[in-house]
Amino acid sequence: MSDAYSDKVMDHFKNPRNVGVIENADGYGKVGNPTCGDIMEMYIKVEDNKIADAKFRTFGCGAAIATSSMATELIKGKSIEDALTLTNKSVVEALSGLPPIKVHCSVLAEDAIKSAIDDYLKKRDGKGIEGWSPRNHEH
């Protein structure tokens, strides 16, 4: 079964990085819904405009867990501006690919990150990411 997933995906699924919650997080985002079977929750801690820490919790399939894990790895240590350039494609590439039916998981991961940053910016500046609103993940 796991043949459908790359070794990188399986690695992040077996040993997910950054699982958990951050108390008093600077930014928090939650995307997805039970109908489509994936829910991702993302927490970030920001210090000197850099993402000092990121944590997640995910209800979902192997790909949902692996993309959440990889997405948190990709943004840790990055500036807010750099983290905002993260796309679902970069998550997929970092995982050496995903089966086509699972690409929506990477979209969810990108949105979870953006949603957490949006929350942070709203708290800091009173307005969120310019021109961004969370996608509707109803299917």
Binding site: M1, F13, G37, R57, F59, A63
Partner: protein
Amino acid sequence: MKRIYLDYAATTPTHPDVVEAMLPYFSEKYGNPSSIHSFGQEAKTAVSQGREQVANLIGAQPEEIFFTSGGSESDNFALQGVAFANQKQGNHIITSAIEHHAVLETCHWLEKHGFTITYLPVDKNGLVKPEDIKKALTDKTILVSIMHANNEIGTIQPIAEIAEVLKSSGRKIYFHTDAVQTTGAISVNVDNLGVDLLSMSAHKLYGPKGVGALYIRKGTRIEAFLKGGGQERRRRASTENVPGIVGFGKAAELAKKELEERVKHLTPLRDKLIKELQEKIPETILNGHPTERLPNNVNISVKYIEGESMLLNLDMEGIAASTGSACTSGTLDPSHVLLSIGLPHELAHGSVRFTLGRLTTEEDVEKVIEVFPGIVEKLRAMSPLYKKEG
């Protein structure tokens, strides 16, 4: 690592005796049963024997057995064949919401060709109520198709009671049952069940893949499914799958002989797995009927976590199971069966099915009971839906 196969509802390992019976029919006795020479005749004899063995398993006459390529074809054949042969009598068909897709999608197709279909709901245990069938009958009803047991949740339907309802209607209404999960698993007798058509598949009862059969009661009006030859009494043309039929026959013979033994072996293993998983893992739900269920079926929903991630973890422990979660079906919707019994989406996504078989041991079941709670705990710790008590 020892691998543990608990997906017998998907397919079964071919019985060694079945393989042995089939082997001569590839390269030694390879004749075409339609040929009049001795090569053809020995193949024809083998097909006749297979037909008798399959008929014998379900209490039918050999001439009522029509070999097909499998359960899905049998379902397509039964529904299309009866619908079109009887459309002068009416265009209404009754089925249930939890049928196999081979029945449901054939019904959807028939709707495009002038037929009206009633999809009956089921109760929380997955049972069709015979009185619902009675209420759904119209003077246009020509066919009812209700599966004998559900492949996902294992619920066994009151087929004989439904047959009584149809008989007392005073009109000829054909009754089809998809018995793919029950033939060889529990007692299946076409007269006791009161059905006119019954679908079977060899690979679910330790036979080979690619062969099945449709039982068609004598006198049933049905159109041919494949045209172009005299095979299967002109109703299903195509050169017979001789090795497959031989294998199916042998598997049917073994099933008849071992049926009681198989039920006796599986039922306590099933009950142990259900009981201990529910004891060891809080907040799990047994899907399907608590008692009217296949002796090998365990289907549970585990709250707060998703099915595929459970399957991947089980697979890492060498355990093969199945799920009704969307994530393995190639669509984004979870199982129609689990939604039909009233499960909310997150519980339908959180289902795991273990189906046991003749090679399953008590140690196999104990291994699942040993490793599964840890898998659940690990995934729940990761889940935003889970709030640990206390």
